[in-house]
């Protein structure tokens, strides 16, 4: 409980996805099945919380081709890894929704990065191919070799996005989604 009463409840959706947080991207290009751009590259997208929330799941959607392993995680704004799933094989059929459990992690009010890394360029995900000039103007970042996050990006060394690839990645605050 805060020391002082809150004047109003700040609503936070039970899931924060990249298209939801950054709907502007879809002005320039649509999300579709696209091959992962570079083996082991990490991609990072800022999100922020108005109040403490318990992160419980992360999710993305596979594209037309299922392949490789994917790591997802949450970082503080400095790039320190807070939680990650560890490498998880893509599963299911084309277009299957990939819900990845993470250790329940209480996130304080503030700014974070959600990240995804894949060890295969055969793998496809639902992603936007918007140019890096657009993505970088929202603070999107990348790291050339980040997979797996536990050893490849702790702390991550974020650099400005230079890839035309933005994954529809989400952090979710419910155990069921």
């Amino acid at each position: 409980m805060p020391d002082f009463p809150e004047l109003y409840d700040v609503p936070i959706a039970p899931g924060l996805s990249v298209p939801g947080l950054y709907p502007e991207i879809q002005v320039f290009t649509s999300f579709a099945s696209r091959a992962y751009p570079t083996v082991n590259k990490g991609l990072f997208y800022p999100f922020w919380l108005e109040k403490p929330m318990l992160a419980q799941q992360m999710a993305y959607c596979a594209g037309n081709t299922i392949a490789g392993n994917v790591d997802v995680g949450i970082f503080d704004i400095k790039g320190n890894l807070l939680v990650s799933s560890g490498g998880t094989a893509m599963a299911g059929g084309a277009g299957s929704f990939q819900i990845i459990n993470i250790t329940d992690t209480l996130l304080a009010q503030g700014y974070y990065m959600k990240g995804i890394a894949c060890d295969s360029i055969t793998a496809t995900m639902i992603a936007s191919n918007v140019g890096p000039q657009v993505g970088a103007s929202f603070g999107f970042c990348e790291q050339l070799t980040a997979y797996p996050f536990s050893t490849g990006a702790n702390p991550a060394t974020f650099v400005r996005l230079a890839t035309s690839y933005v994954v529809a990645l989400s952090v979710n605050f419910k155990s069921v989604m």
């Binding site: 002005v27 320039f28 657009v134 970088a136 974020f158 400005r160």
Partner: protein
């Protein structure tokens, strides 16, 4: 309420989705924005602690860029001042700490030469005029705007951020 890390000409806070963009990120070419100041309506819903202003240079940056903010009534709140354009095809950051109060403003940019990365609007830019974008001839952002019709169909990528470094 927490503000986003970046606010730019591509943000929903600049009404990008209402302006009929053609969805094209053009390669930098000759600067149609040469010696033109452009004013983009932007709504700021939070006290925003700006640390840096930025602008994506084109392949041939030259002369100066000036980035700033005007009130809804056209009075300059802040500008970086004319700054020499730097390296080609990267975001150029210019330090300019200021706390912006919530409100309605114009995000302003002046490029006195060279090129910039830009978005091409549909409908020959008329959609931009319908969205409230204004223009003015000049080589730097004035203390008070004397707005005129916006006569191009391009929008450079520029804005501000609360990050102090990196990215």
């Amino acid at each position: 309420m927490l503000p986003p890390l970046f606010v730019s000409s591509l943000s929903k806070y600049c009404k990008v989705q209402e302006m009929g963009y053609a969805g094209v990120i053009a390669n930098p070419a000759s600067g149609a924005e040469l010696n033109m100041i452009m004013y983009l309506p932007v709504t700021i819903a939070w006290p925003y602690p700006v640390k840096r202003w930025f602008h994506w240079t084109g392949s041939s940056p030259a002369n100066n860029v000036d980035i700033g903010l005007m009130t809804r009534d056209g009075v300059r709140v802040f500008s970086t001042g004319a700054t020499a354009q730097g390296t080609a095809s990267v975001p150029q950051y210019i330090s300019g700490p200021i706390l912006i109060p919530p409100g309605e403003f114009y995000l302003a940019l002046c490029i006195s030469n060279g090129t910039s990365f830009r978005i091409t609007a549909s409908n020959s830019g008329n959609a931009l005029r319908q969205g409230g974008i204004l223009g003015e001839s000049g080589t730097s952002i004035p203390a008070v705007m004397t707005p005129a019709a916006f006569t191009t169909a391009i929008i450079p990528i520029f804005g501000f951020t609360m990050t102090e470094s990196g990215y």
